[in-house]
């Protein structure tokens, strides 16, 4: 038994290095996608102190909106790349309208309430979006319009280490687009006036208000940014499988990433996502069979909790010392 736990997995890694590279690649791709989902949570948490439970359904809703617009255009005889990008633009527009509605109908009336009330309100948003989405789009899974959006298909097969490593082009695209998006958001929040305002709001709502920053405007911007992140996530996950309400469950995989990376740290979301992605794939592949398989759904939490034993403030959180 000890051999199976401590020796055999490493022997396998040495004997089949191509599979190790493949596992690491799959882990990295999953990790980047988890990081994207986690980023949506972090953005809203930073700006409003609210854990947005609706982030998962926003992934589904935005992707369904995109596919729904495209289907409508197709029924009018307008299809192809132009229709797909128009649908993309309209889906982004819907996420902007959603952000404005959330700010006007949910956040503004509840601004003086404790955080837990706002948290519960995001449950309400979740179920409203589920119901609304099912009424408008139905419950059937839809195919993502990957080709129409110029997303590649097929694979790049590389012979290496005595075997074959297969990189799916859609996964490469997902990794590149997610990385660009993360860099773009980081620059936006670090280098622009709105970004500085957001960081001011994150530090202190009252201080930000006192220097003339509009809290309402910041909330709309940040919910819209989270909506765009959700849209990109929905496109990528949707292209890998299909667009259905099952994606909402995948979005919950971001929770251990947040536990690990911290709720307020953008780098934490990214590095946390990668650690969780790679960790769960390695764990499932090399140690999963010892436990009957299917361990990755809970292994992610174990990885996060083990990290927290050594670094309770999360990967990039500040150590808070309170003197009594």
């Amino acid at each position: 038994m000890l051999y199976n736990i401590f020796i055999d997995p490493f022997v396998q890694m040495v004997q089949m290095p191509d599979l190790l590279v493949q596992t690491l690649w799959e882990g990295l791709v999953s990790g980047v996608l988890y990081a994207l989902i986690a980023l949506g949570f972090v953005l809203i948490f930073k700006a409003s102190g609210v854990f947005n439970f609706a982030q998962g359904i926003m992934v589904v809703f935005s992707a369904l909106t995109l596919v729904g617009f495209y289907a409508k255009f197709s029924s009018w005889g307008f299809s192809g790349h132009a229709a797909a990008f128009l649908a993309l633009l309209l889906a982004a527009g819907v996420m902007l309208v959603l952000a404005m509605l959330v700010e006007r109908v949910v956040l503004r009336p509840l601004v003086t309430q404790p955080d837990i009330i706002l948290f519960m309100a995001t449950f309400g948003i979740t179920y409203v979006l589920i119901g609304f989405g099912e009424i408008v789009f139905g419950g059937d899974p839809k195919q993502m319009i990957a080709n129409e959006l110029f997303l590649p298909s097929g694979s790049v097969d590389i012979e290496m280490l005595g075997g074959l490593v297969s990189l799916q082009k859609i996964d490469i695209a997902a990794a590149v687009i997610a990385s660009l998006m993360i860099v773009g958001l980081a620059l936006f929040f670090q280098k622009t006036r709105i970004g500085r305002a957001l960081r001011a709001v994150a530090d202190s709502h009252k201080a930000a208000l006192s220097v003339g920053i509009s809290l309402n405007q910041i909330w709309v911007i940040v919910w819209f940014a989270a909506g765009l992140v959700a849209l990109v996530t929905g496109i990528m996950w949707g292209a890998r499988s299909d667009v259905s309400f099952a994606l909402e469950i995948v979005a919950l995989k971001a929770l251990p990433v947040l536990v690990l990376g911290g709720f307020t740290s953008v780098p934490g979301a990214i590095v946390g996502g990668l650690i969780i992605g790679v960790g769960e794939k390695l764990g499932e592949f090399y140690w999963g069979p010892l436990l009957g398989g299917g361990i990755e759904s809970w292994l992610a939490y174990v990885i996060a909790l083990v990290f927290l034993l050594y670094r309770p403030q999360g990967l990039f959180g500040d150590k808070i010392i309170e003197r009594i």
């Binding site: 419950g139 059937d140 195919q143 890998r240 499988s241 299909d242 099952a246 469950i249």
Partner: protein
């Protein structure tokens, strides 16, 4: 009288009148609840089945005025494939005296098994649920025709043996992968796999997929790549099926060696593109609309705007027709119950007898308008399943094509194991009631 008082009075009157209306309905109608899931993670599989079930029964109401002149009251309850919600549906429907329930989830079926005899409501778990519930002497209130999951698994093994050029001895030394939803449904064949792998000498590799990872199966397929199974068997549902097919294509697993139990439909395969050609599933009925009964559904329900089907082209697809088959069993059980008992407005107890006396032969299939749609089915007091043969169908890029004759299950191995499992179930749930329901002479 002020407007406010008038509204209050009308409300009070309607509340008081409600039981009377319900009682009137109960006297001259048959209540058939349908547990469905048109929402949630499994809606992709649930919606077409719900449409097929609902449309068939609605057609009977529209065309024939119900069954035997008695109108059917059809009510859907949305379970979301969630056991808790399914049990809530059951409790909510119980007071309305349903003549049977279709849980449409193995997870919901299992807790209903002990309730069925107490509440006198038969459970029809069509080709799902507890395989051992095929034993009518132990489970008089549970019916799972036309085949159990254990039958299905052995039919796939028989198909594999045939592909290898002979009998089951050809399975010896083969490595067979089993990828499944890690829930009651997918775990159902595990005891059988354990037993048969020892008896027949094949090596079983298990790849469980948690519901949370249905769309995130890269780990399982990496393991498939490492283990290099000779064949893969799929027991999936909802998004698990479509993702598994896509991942198999991605992994370059030979699709002609990837065979599923009967649940994937066209929409599960189409998204994987040309790479999915050759993917196989079991089935026991035809797809398409070339049957008088399906055409009646189109005429009386779909074209009349009384169906919830999202797209008319979905009528006749595999899972839609699966729902039609399920409702055919319901309708025939009610019709048989009316014949056996002489009652027009039948009860759960009557329909249980109807199910035990179910005999859908070729002549009856023709009469219904389903000639050539499926094989005849006969149930009995002891056999609540039929252990029907299934054929293998293969995806050709646009539709499933039947590629084999009917393949029988390994009854010599399955039946003794089912006996053993039924006995073990009764012991674990002691005191399990002895059957007291009389068998009708047939």
């Amino acid at each position: 009288m002020s407007l406010k008082k008038m509204i209050l009075a009308l409300s009070a009157a309607s509340v008081l009148a409600m039981p009377a209306i319900e009682a009137a309905n109960a006297e001259d109608s048959i209540y058939v609840p349908l547990f469905t899931y048109r929402t949630g993670a499994f809606a992709g599989s649930g919606s077409p089945i719900a449409d097929g079930m609902h449309d068939y029964l609605t057609m009977l109401n529209e065309r024939d005025g119900g069954i035997g002149g008695v109108k059917l009251v059809i009510e859907e309850c949305e379970t979301g494939y969630d056991t808790k919600k399914g049990l809530e549906c059951y409790e909510a429907m119980k007071p309305k005296k349903p003549v049977l329930v279709n849980p449409w989830s193995t997870g919901i079926t299992l807790p209903l098994i002990p309730k069925a005899a107490v509440d006198k409501i038969p459970v029809l778990s069509m080709a799902y649920g507890l395989s051992a519930s095929a034993k009518g002497d132990v489970f008089p209130w549970i019916f799972n025709p036309p085949a159990t999951y254990w039958d299905g698994f052995t039919q796939i093994l028989n198909y594999i043996a045939d592909q290898e050029g002979g009998g089951v001895d050809k399975l010896k030394g083969k490595r067979i992968g089993y990828i499944y939803l890690d829930a009651s449904f997918g775990r159902e064949p595990l005891p059988l796999i354990d037993q048969l792998s020892k008896e027949l000498g094949f090596e079983a590799k298990l790849y469980p997929v948690a519901a949370a990872d249905m769309q995130n199966q890269s780990s399982q397929w990496l393991s498939v790549r490492r283990d290099r199974p000779d064949y893969m068997i799929l027991f999936g549902w909802g998004a698990l099926n479509s993702t598994a097919v896509k991942e198999a294509v991605k992994t370059n697993f030979p699709m002609e060696k990837f065979i599923s139990v009967w649940w994937p439909g066209e929409d599960d395969v189409r998204g994987a593109g040309d790479g999915a050609k050759g993917f196989k599933t079991l089935n026991w009925h035809a797809a398409g609309t070339d049957f008088p009964l399906i055409q009646d559904i189109q005429k009386y329900v779909v074209d009349a705007g009384k169906s919830q089907v999202s797209d008319k082209s979905k009528v006749g697809q595999v899972l839609y027709n699966r729902g039609v088959y399920n409702s055919m069993l319901i309708a025939e059980a009610i019709r048989t119950a009316q014949e056996v008992t002489g009652n027009k407005v039948v009860t759960g107890e009557d329909v249980r007898r109807g199910l035990e006396n179910l005999n859908i032969d070729e002549a009856r299939l023709k009469e219904i308008g389903l000639e050539g749609f499926t094989q005849p089915l006969k149930l009995s007091c002891n056999d609540h399943n039929g252990h029907q043969s299934n054929f293998v169908q293969s995806w050709n890029g646009t539709a499933f094509e039947k590629v084999t004759d009917y393949i029988a299950p390994m009854s010599d191995k399955v039946i003794p194991l089912l006996d053993e499992d039924a006995k073990s179930y009764a012991e674990k749930n002691a005191p399990w009631p002895e059957r007291t329901e009389a068998c009708d002479a047939s």
